[in-house]
């Protein structure tokens, strides 16, 4: 069976600093992949190469039927990749001048050219799913971080992408608000949508993810099922990292 996402030889440097030194990954449809690793290991940088927000210098990315060589990606190819993906950011990045409902509708109306009425219905439906059905006309500035992040999950979800990329979705949140976001992510995962999640939430990775990769020094150093990687890490760096977390 061929995988949904196939990443080969991704390399990226900021000036002289090599951040990604050749990342290979295969992700199957419906998989929830947690990407773990210490700060500076390249997790976020890697995730941002997938939708070309931070293009890689080298390597290939295939999502479904779209294959892109990072060295010579065309606008059309990047557009194609982004069409199959959506992203949830660490700082939510909601459009501040738009209400929650408008934030979610924006992609449907402007990008997918969906009829406004239908876009509205779909958006409300999605916002209900993330528990924000009562907050449609709120502006981001009126909401808690947890609510904003749930809205941004709705903004990604409504586009019905092949894969949703989560970039440390709970790292900017109050400890009290982390739970509500993880709960929504868990519910999203249960719908069978493919997810790539850069996170420090080991509990989430353990309980919700179907696969875990551990990155260090710009490479994937260990991968497998969460019960294997997290409970019985083989790699020395993984052992150190997880040991610190549980200590």
């Amino acid at each position: 069976m061929s995988s949904l996402i196939e990443v080969r030889g991704i390399k990226k440097a900021f000036g002289d600093l090599a951040v990604l030194r050749g990342v290979d990954l295969d992700i199957n449809k419906g998989e929830v992949l947690a990407i773990l690793g210490p700060s500076g290991s390249g997790k976020t940088t890697f995730l941002r190469t997938i939708n070309f927000l931070g293009p890689a210098n080298e390597g290939t990315i295939r999502i479904g039927d779209i294959q892109v060589d990072c060295k010579q990606a065309t606008k059309k190819e990047i557009y194609g990749l982004r069409k199959k993906t959506a992203m949830v950011f660490q700082n939510y990045n909601l459009f501040k001048n738009k209400t929650v409902l408008q934030n979610v509708m924006e992609g449907l109306v402007l990008v997918q050219k969906m009829d406004k009425k239908e876009a509205r219905e779909r958006s409300i439906e999605t916002l209900n799913k993330v528990g924000l059905g009562e907050r449609l006309d709120y502006y981001p500035s009126q909401m808690s971080g947890g609510q904003q992040q749930r809205a941004s999950i709705a903004r990604a979800l409504v586009l019905n992408p092949e894969v949703i990329l989560f970039d440390e979705p709970t790292s900017a949140l109050d400890p009290e608000l982390v739970g509500e976001v993880l709960q929504v992510m868990k519910e999203v995962a249960e719908t069978g949508i493919t997810m790539m999640v850069v996170t420090h939430e080991i509990g989430f990775a353990h309980d919700v993810a179907t696969n875990v990769v551990f990155m260090d020094g710009g490479r994937v150093v260990e991968q497998g099922r969460p019960t294997d990687v997290i409970d019985h890490p083989q790699n020395e760096r993984t052992q150190q990292f997880l040991g610190k977390l549980s200590a």
């Binding site: 927000l53 959506a86 990045n93 909601l94 738009k98 992609g107 402007l110 990008v111 500035s141």
Partner: protein
């Protein structure tokens, strides 16, 4: 009593020039804003050469008195038209035309910096969010950045525009008649008697027009800042 009488008498005569100057001023605002946006765009996205040229232009406009700029445009353009293109009619072109050009060029340079700083103050994360859902650059600009940047730019812009309206009084030097010009004319006719009353009337009318402009700008700002208002109301509610 004499001053009061000349004050009253001057008012209708001074008011008569306001509609045409306001119309001209609207044109200056329009061209100034477009020019300011173009210049800001070059400064933000342009190459080195474009940046250097825009910087020189802005430093010239900001570093020289407006009066000099008016005179350069007035005599410069006429000389070019007459000597360069053999257009003898140029000497009869209305002063308003030169005022329009000089003030638009001036306003554009000042607005450029206002717009540029407003643009950079909208956080880039929202641009990335737009990119991630495949919005076009133009959509990201007009739907997300522009509304927020406009609100940030507006108070500064209002200041510049109000200053600019008052600065139309300088255009008297090339024969353009605004409130000031008309007032000077009236004061000249009275041979100095009642001049204070006339100048007070001039001041009062400038003040009225500027107050009117201020009200308009505030109304626009209010309309653009609904999201900010609700947020402030929420904070006020929590802290009360």
């Amino acid at each position: 009593m004499k001053q009061f009488e000349s004050f009253i008498n001057a008012i209708p005569k001074l008011i008569s020039v306001i509609p045409s100057t306001l119309l001209l001023f609207l044109g200056i605002i329009g061209v100034g804003i477009v020019l300011g946006m173009l210049l800001a765009w070059v400064r933000l996205k342009g190459n080195t050469v474009g940046n250097v040229l825009v910087n020189i232009y802005i430093s010239f406009i900001r570093g020289t008195p407006l009066l000099i700029q008016i005179l350069i445009v007035y005599f410069g353009l006429r000389a070019i038209a007459v000597n360069g293109f053999g257009n003898q009619n140029a000497t009869r072109w209305p002063a308003a035309l030169f005022v329009f050009i000089a003030y638009s060029l001036n306003l554009g340079a000042f607005l450029c910096e206002t717009f540029r700083s407003a643009y950079t103050s909208v956080d880039f994360g929202q641009v990335e969010a737009g990119m991630s859902i495949n919005m076009k650059n133009s959509q990201i600009f007009w739907h997300i950045i522009f509304p927020q940047a406009a609100r940030i730019a507006l108070p500064n812009m209002s200041n510049l525009l109000i200053d600019d309206y008052k600065a139309l009084s300088l255009a008297f030097s090339i024969g353009f008649i605004d409130i000031m010009g008309r007032g000077e004319g009236l004061a000249g006719l009275t041979k100095g008697v009642g001049a204070v009353g006339i100048y007070l009337a001039v001041a009062a009318l400038y003040w009225l027009v500027c107050k009117g402009l201020d009200i308009v700008f505030r109304r626009v700002e209010w309309g653009l800042s609904k999201d900010i208002r609700v947020a402030q109301a929420a904070v006020a509610h929590q802290t009360s």
